[in-house]
């Protein structure tokens, strides 16, 4: 395999490039961004077990691969178990290469739940990263247990009798944390420094660690491809997707929300929530419901920052000339 001629600067980028260009993710793909950020922070001394899904399909259409790290895709529901086997092999060989497992929300919240739970319970030294785009995107946007309440998918369409998904988004972090693992956290592509910090923290943990990365899907969520980060940011700033870290089952830290935004700021950018803006009492009720869910998160995780915090939703991403914040 020879690398085709490419921009000479490509070979001199001051960061580790785990996921290369030329992958076939849609424009503005949050998952591609998240995967690149995660692998960048994790570095080259890793082995990846990747579940079936968009990430796998867009990155590895034979004879191409966009990965620059050893990578294996087995099946939809066994990323955690395959990773556990890899980790056992590393242990057997006396190597300390870190094993990563990548999966989407379908492969984690739903079909991969058993394997994930087993891997966590057995204490494998694996960092499991779930790229959460809140539906089965690879198969054409069907609802998963991660799909937010009231969101439209092709299997939770709004209609005369329904306002999108009837059920709630599964609280996966709580389930994962209940395994009493050393480190579990949520992160978002809108906060890359925070995301990378969490990856590094997880890499340093001995034992299982878990990262749930909120990764907008422009196609599935129905927003402009330029708004991926904006949408992800608003999910955090409304309280709908709280950024928290848990150690051994207890909340260790949260990203405080300095100025919470109303959920409508977030919802109105996305076609999957468009039906909630109809002039209809049920629609209004569901908007209030989603606001209440956000408020509940803010209360439960104590997200309302009392005074400016350098790591809150405003301070965390303050830009600096020369880009030092991402170092």
């Amino acid at each position: 395999m020879t690398e085709s001629s490419h921009h000479p600067l490509r070979d001199h980028q001051p960061r580790f490039q785990g996921l290369d260009s030329g992958h076939r993710a849609c424009q503005g793909c949050g998952e591609a961004l998240a995967a690149r950020l995660v692998t960048e922070a994790a570095g080259p001394d890793v082995i990846v077990s990747n579940a079936t899904g968009c990430l796998e399909v867009f990155s590895t259409p034979w004879p191409e691969t966009a990965w620059r790290i050893p990578w294996l895709h087995s099946l939809f529901e066994n990323a955690a178990s395959v990773a556990a086997g890899m980790e056992a092999a590393m242990r057997a060989q006396g190597r300390d290469t870190k094993v990563l497992a990548f999966a989407g929300d379908g492969g984690t919240f739903d079909i991969g739940m058993r394997g994930l739970s087993g891997m966590l319970e057995r204490g494998h030294d694996v960092l499991y990263v779930c790229f959460d785009n809140e539906a089965y995107m690879n198969t054409g946007v069907q609802r998963s247990s991660s799909t937010p309440h009231a969101a439209m998918t092709t299997t939770s369409p709004p209609g005369r009798e329904r306002m999108g998904k009837r059920h709630l988004k599964k609280d996966l972090l709580a389930i994962v944390a209940a395994h009493h693992i050393p480190y579990a956290a949520t992160a978002s592509v809108a906060y890359p420094s925070d995301l990378r910090k969490k990856v590094r923290r997880a890499m340093g943990v001995e034992g299982p660690s878990f990262l749930l990365v909120h990764s907008p899907c422009p196609l599935g969520w129905g927003h402009d491809s330029a708004l991926t980060v904006q949408v992800a940011r608003l999910a955090v700033q409304t309280g709908l997707f709280p950024l928290v870290e848990m150690e051994r089952g207890s909340v260790a830290s949260v990203m405080p929300i300095r100025r919470p935004c109303p959920v409508t700021d977030y919802l109105k950018l996305q076609r999957r929530f468009r039906h909630l803006f109809a002039d209809h009492p049920r629609a209004r009720e569901e908007l209030e419901h989603l606001q209440a869910l956000a408020d509940h998160n803010i209360e439960v995780y104590r997200l309302a920052g009392e005074e400016p915090d350098p790591l809150d939703t405003e301070g965390a991403d303050t830009v600096r000339r020369g880009g030092m914040r991402y170092a």
Partner: protein, 563 residues
């Protein structure tokens, strides 16, 4: 045709064969746009550019960038009304950048460290250009002529340079040592000053036009405007500017008890404050226009610098806004009071604004002196041939006087504006025009790019942060000529650099590089600093627009792909 690999494995780098750039219908491009502060600065300073260096604590480069436009930052940092800060996009987010403080800090640093002006030696055969008047316009013009490789010769009537900076701006606003130091350093950059040579008396305009490649006239306004109330003038009339100059020179004013100053400009306010400092217990300003800061439209607001007006109020000056003098009350030929009346500018039946006095609002103010400060005109001496009876020497934006070849005008003498910074800008533009004329090139053209709008700034990336509070001498201690505004320290100034949005210009924050899902933004240098530090790899850019949306500075535009 690729041959099957064992178990269909693939190897790193192979995805680069697939050029996702084909998918693009819009491409990101770097487009520089001037920041509003830049567009608003009469002197042409690009505050955004020097704030970038300030943020990195590279003060010398910041100063060199600054003096690329304005050679007098220690002075203008103190006396300018800073329209840059009114224009600053950050003002729509929390508080504008304290640009004038940064400017002043850099000017002071340059003096303290004796950084040489960025001027190359002038070639021996350089053309000479005559500059009349060593005020801000004349000196700025001379400096930029030097930078253009020309040799300026400055003719100044007074023994010392500075013009109204020296003669009319009190030391509590502009300390003499700052003025002297900055001017001395500027002259040392290679400006020949012919001090004590007055136009008309010591040198003739025709002579200059004959002997020099071009002439830049910046004589200022030296003659007070005629003033009377219903045809009456007090016998002991003192013009405001003359009184101010007198006090500046001898440090004394007559022993008055109460004074009414008629006017609303900087001269009126400066004089009022000087009189308070000289011990006059009651000082009034009678202004047709409103005190700034209460929502009055700009055209109906006192033209004096708002900050100075408020400091005057703090110091006990009484300002009577929206008032006119209707009658002088004389005892014999001496003034003992004025009759004021409320007036306001209102649209008349013709749709235009007229000043309307309101009957029944008359009020007598008992004073022992009335001082008009209603403006000045050009002193005609030596300029008779071109003044033609006017009070001003009108010129186009580049300073061309009446289309006459080789003759340029700048500063207050133009009659269309009257601040130090505008004068500096006049000098700079005229120097550019002169240089092009000398080189036989076409006259300069206006760049004309719109400054970048607030809406293009992604404010999420900027934390709310208050502007630093400047230290000011409390009013009760303002009894002498010591400077009352004490500026900001280095840390505060760096903080302002950090607060700057870097409107319309790359700040090398790495956002585009970090957030591109396709790794189609490549970094040019390991440590970016701003400018062209990133390139788009159009082989792979899918045109999603994420980088443009997340650019904090509005430096990236999405442009349709041509077919």
């Amino acid at each position: 045709m690729p041959r099957l690999t064992p178990a269909a494995v693939a190897f790193p780098g192979s995805s680069l064969a697939f050029r996702t750039g084909d998918w693009r219908i819009e491409r990101p491009e770097h487009h520089y746009r001037p920041a509003p502060c830049h567009a608003a600065c009469p002197a042409g300073e690009d505050a955004q550019a020097y704030l970038a260096y300030v943020e990195l604590e590279r003060f010398r480069e910041a100063w060199e960038t600054l003096v690329g436009a304005n050679p007098l930052p220690a002075i203008t940092g103190r006396v300018c009304h800073h329209p840059c800060e009114q224009a600053c996009n950050r003002g729509r987010y929390d508080e504008p950048i304290a640009i004038h403080h940064v400017e002043r800090f850099l000017g002071d640093e340059a003096i303290a460290n004796d950084w040489p002006y960025p001027v190359r030696p002038v070639p021996a055969d350089a053309e000479e250009v005559a500059v009349v008047g060593a005020g801000p316009a004349g000196l700025a013009c001379a400096y930029h002529l030097l930078r253009e490789g020309l040799r300026p010769v400055v003719f100044e009537a007074l023994p010392e340079p500075g013009g109204l900076l020296r003669s009319a701006i009190p030391a509590y606003r502009l300390p003499r040592e700052v003025l002297d130091a900055e001017l001395a350093r500027l002259l040392a950059a290679g400006i020949r000053l012919e001090a004590g040579r007055r136009l008309g008396r010591d040198v003739a305009l025709d002579e200059l036009r004959k002997d020099y490649a071009a002439v830049f006239l910046a004589p200022g306004l030296q003659k007070p405007r005629e003033w009377s109330v219903g045809g009456m003038t007090p016998s002991d009339l003192h013009a405001g500017l003359d009184l101010l100059k007198e006090w500046m020179e001898v440090g004394e004013v007559p022993d008055w008890h109460s004074v009414a100053i008629v006017g609303a400009g900087n001269t009126a306010v400066d004089l009022a404050r000087v009189l308070r400092r000289a011990g006059v217990p009651e000082v009034h300003i009678i202004s047709h226009k409103a005190i700034p800061g209460h929502g009055a439209p700009p055209e109906d607001t006192m033209p004096a610098i708002p900050r100075e007006v408020h400091q005057a109020l703090e110091e006990g000056v009484q300002i009577h806004e929206h008032r006119g003098v209707q009658r002088l009350i004389l005892r014999g030929e001496r003034v003992v009071g004025v009759e004021m009346v409320h007036m306001k500018k209102l649209p008349g039946t013709d749709g235009r604004l007229h000043r309307v006095p309101f009957e029944g609002t008359e009020h007598i103010l008992h004073v022992d002196q009335v001082i008009p400060a209603v403006g000045q005109v050009v002193d005609g001496e030596g300029l008779e041939t071109i003044l033609e009876g006017r009070g001003w020497l009108p010129a186009d934006r580049w300073g061309h006087f009446d289309g006459q070849q080789g003759l340029y005008v700048g500063g207050d003498a133009r009659g269309d504006h009257g601040t130090v910074t505008e004068a500096v800008g006049d000098g700079r533009r005229a120097a550019m025009a002169i240089a092009r004329q000398v080189r036989g090139e076409a006259p300069p053209q206006e760049a004309g790019t719109e400054p970048i709008a607030f809406e293009r700034i992604n404010t999420h990336y900027f934390e709310h942060r208050a502007r630093p509070r400047e230290r000011v001498v409390p009013p009760e201690q303002r009894t002498d000529c010591r400077e009352i505004e004490l500026g900001l320290d280095g840390a505060e100034v760096i903080g302002e650099g950090q607060r700057c949005f870097s409107c319309g210009n790359c700040m090398a924050c790495d956002n585009c590089w970090t957030l591109c899902p396709d790794s189609a933004v490549l970094k040019v240098r390991q440590e970016a600093a701003g400018g062209d530090d990133y390139v788009f790899d159009y082989d792979f850019c899918k045109g999603c627009g994420l980088c443009a949306h997340e650019c904090p500075c509005g430096y990236i535009d999405m442009v349709p792909e041509s077919a």
